[in-house]
């Protein structure tokens, strides 16, 4: 790979990063929203570095400095493995990877408990407020987990609205799911609530479910989170599909 080509690859890579962060916002499908400034900075560095390289070496490409590089198995120019850097760019544009969903949720082992994310200090639910109270699935699971291990039962008697996508469970049950990113989509874990009381919407459909917390009666909190629903309404995919 010549030096000029390496510079082109850098521009391409940086350009792709800027494209998914600043233009289309697709980055939300892969990494957490807070990561965006760092991505933009990295994209700018890559584009500038590559562009300066192309400009500086416009007339002068002697095959890169690696030609005299003792011990390197790659010969003339740069390493051949660097071509692989085009692969994520190609995947990004040609496959247009969507957000993770049903496939990932169904793969995760339902017997494995998901440790709910820790709750913040404001523990008691606000008095009054909207009815039903919109609540994120992680918060619902956190509060449910707390109650099941003997802590405060803060969900009792509150109508809640949960948003997630649908998967099919055993014995005709269905689950409301949200995937949670720890770092990026590679380590997404499935947060899953079993819904009772309403017929199953189509698999993969995003729904708003209104109902109340249903104590699962498992004191060891083995990841069983249940919801007694009164309605399930179809809705669109949220801006950030992950929890």
């Amino acid at each position: 790979m010549t030096r000029a080509t390496q510079n082109v690859v850098m521009v391409l890579l940086g350009g792709a990063v800027l494209w998914i962060t600043l233009v289309t916002g697709e980055a939300i499908n892969y990494v957490k929203p807070g990561f965006r400034p760092l991505l933009v900075a990295a994209g700018v560095v890559l584009v500038v570095l590559g562009a300066v390289g192309v400009r500086r070496e416009w007339h002068d490409d002697r095959g890169g400095t690696e030609a005299g590089h003792a011990g390197h198995h790659h010969g003339h120019g740069g390493p051949r493995v660097a071509w692989l850097l085009c692969l994520p760019v190609f995947a990004l544009f040609a496959l247009a990877p969507p957000e993770l969903g049903v496939y990932t949720a169904e793969r995760s082992d339902p017997r494995i408990a998901t440790v709910p994310p820790p709750l913040d200090d404001s523990y008691a639910l606000p008095e009054g407020g909207p009815d039903p109270l919109p609540m994120s699935i992680p918060e619902f699971m956190g509060r449910s987990f707390e109650a099941q291990i003997g802590g405060q039962a803060t969900l009792t008697g509150r109508r809640l609205e949960l948003t997630g996508f649908v998967t099919t469970g055993e014995d005709g049950r269905w689950y409301l799911n949200r995937l949670q990113l720890n770092c990026c989509a590679a380590d997404a874990s499935t947060l899953r609530v079993t819904v009772f009381g309403v017929p199953k919407p189509p698999k993969g459909q995003w729904v708003d479910v209104v109902g109340v917390w249903r104590p699962a009666g498992t004191p060891d909190g083995t990841g069983v989170y249940e919801f007694q629903a009164e309605s399930a309404t179809k809705t669109g995919k949220p801006d950030n599909p992950y929890a």
Binding site: T2, A4, V8, V9, M10, L12, V17, A27, N29, Y30, F35, L38, L39, A42, V45, L46, L49, V52, V54, R55, E57, W58, H59, D60, D61, R62, E66, A67, G68, H69, G75, H76, P79, V81, A82, L84, L85, P88, V89, F90, A91, F93, A94, L95, P97, P98, Y103, T104, R107, D109, I112, T114, V115, P118, N182, C183, A186, D187, S189, G223
Partner: protein, 353 residues
């Protein structure tokens, strides 16, 4: 006269270059002066334009037909790993290129004790202070060696920096909210492994096993040297990062998760399972604590092993180390680190968790 003298003293670079030019380039060299359009810059621009055109066409005509759920999940995870790692890689390489170009070589030899055995613990402690992720630590360690730091000390830094830096410890504390002993065990076990590997390397390691990266020669300003060093490291480490990302994505989508968790119940098996899982998953050390916390079927010792092994040995690191230090190095360094990491984690976990 002067130029002739230079040529006789240092013929290798120029000669090799002559040897490697292809017949086509020879013809070009002897051909009449190239038109302006034929410059490398212009052909690079043509390449860029044609790749972008190809990508646009693929987006319009190919993307709508890719609907296989498994392939979609694979590509999402693959892209996610690359996107997540890229800024760390870029800024890690930036830092290492800056160290290589702007910090005088003697600074390192002055800061670190001269004897490798004494330099190793100091390098380990430095890893606890400097935030650096694993993708960055490989090129940084390479540039430390190129600046004259003993390989054993640079390797200790390579192992310690991503495992026990403040960011990672905070992440671990957040992931294990009621278990501060997990943070302490992670810190202690990781530092112990890094220092042990450094000492073993200092005593038994042979110089020939490791290919100490050379900085490309530069004629010109420091900024020019900085730019060339960055381009060089990015191309090396980046290509291998893609290999690791593809491997991890494949494991994430192809291996049935029940295989991985079925072993969780058996004591030693769960430690080994999570040790190998850490190698296969190739997570950033900033993120692995959250994954470990969610593997509830496994014992605390197994989770500790996952946290100690992951930042030191994984597919992505092996690939990057092969690119920078050579295969002979990886064949020795990786098994040594892996065995020590598992043994020390099992010991620390057995005693304190």
């Amino acid at each position: 006269m002067k130029e002739n003298g230079y040529r006789t003293r240092c013929p290798t670079v120029a000669d090799q270059r002559d040897d490697t030019v292809t017949a086509a380039e020879h013809t070009q060299d002897h051909a009449p002066p190239r038109r302006r359009d034929d410059t490398p810059g212009a052909s690079a621009l043509y390449l860029l334009v044609s790749i972008v055109a190809l990508l646009v066409l693929a987006r319009i005509h190919l993307a709508p037909h890719v609907t296989h759920a498994g392939l979609q999940a694979w590509s999402t995870i693959f892209v996610a790993i690359c996107v997540q790692a890229l800024p760390f890689l870029v800024f890690g390489v930036l830092l290492s290129a800056a160290i290589a170009t702007f910090v005088p070589a003697e600074t390192w030899t002055r800061l670190l004790p001269r004897r490798a055995a004494a330099a190793v613990p100091v390098a380990g402690a430095a890893g606890a202070v400097l935030p650096g992720c694993e993708c960055a630590s490989v090129p940084v360690a390479g540039s430390l060696m190129a600046r004259g730091v003993a390989p054993a000390a640079a390797l200790t830094f390579l192992l310690a920096a991503p495992a026990i830096n403040p960011i990672v410890l905070v992440a671990t504390a957040v992931a294990f909210p009621r278990q501060p002993e997990m943070v302490a065990a992670r810190f202690g076990a990781s530092l112990a492994v890094a220092v042990l590997v450094g000492w073993i390397w200092a005593w038994f390691g042979k110089g020939a096993w490791i290919r100490i990266p050379e900085r490309p020669d530069h004629d010109g300003s420091k900024w020019e040297a900085f730019r060339q060093a960055m381009r060089h490291d990015l191309m090396h480490a980046g290509g291998f990062l893609v290999v690791g990302g593809a491997a991890a994505a494949t494991i994430n989508t192809v291996v049935p998760p029940s295989w991985l968790t079925g072993l969780g119940g058996i004591g030693w098996a769960s430690v080994l399972t999570l040790a190998f899982l850490a190698v296969l998953m190739s997570l950033c050390s900033e993120a692995d604590a959250f994954v470990a916390a969610s593997l509830t079927a496994f014992s605390p010792t197994a989770k500790l092993t996952f946290l100690v092994v992951g930042p030191m040995v994984d597919l992505k690191l092996i690939a990057m180390q092969t690119g920078i230090f050579g295969r002979a190095f990886v064949m020795r360094f990786v098994p040594l680190t892996f065995v020590l990491a598992v043994a020390v984690s099992a010991l620390v976990g057995g005693l304190f968790l």
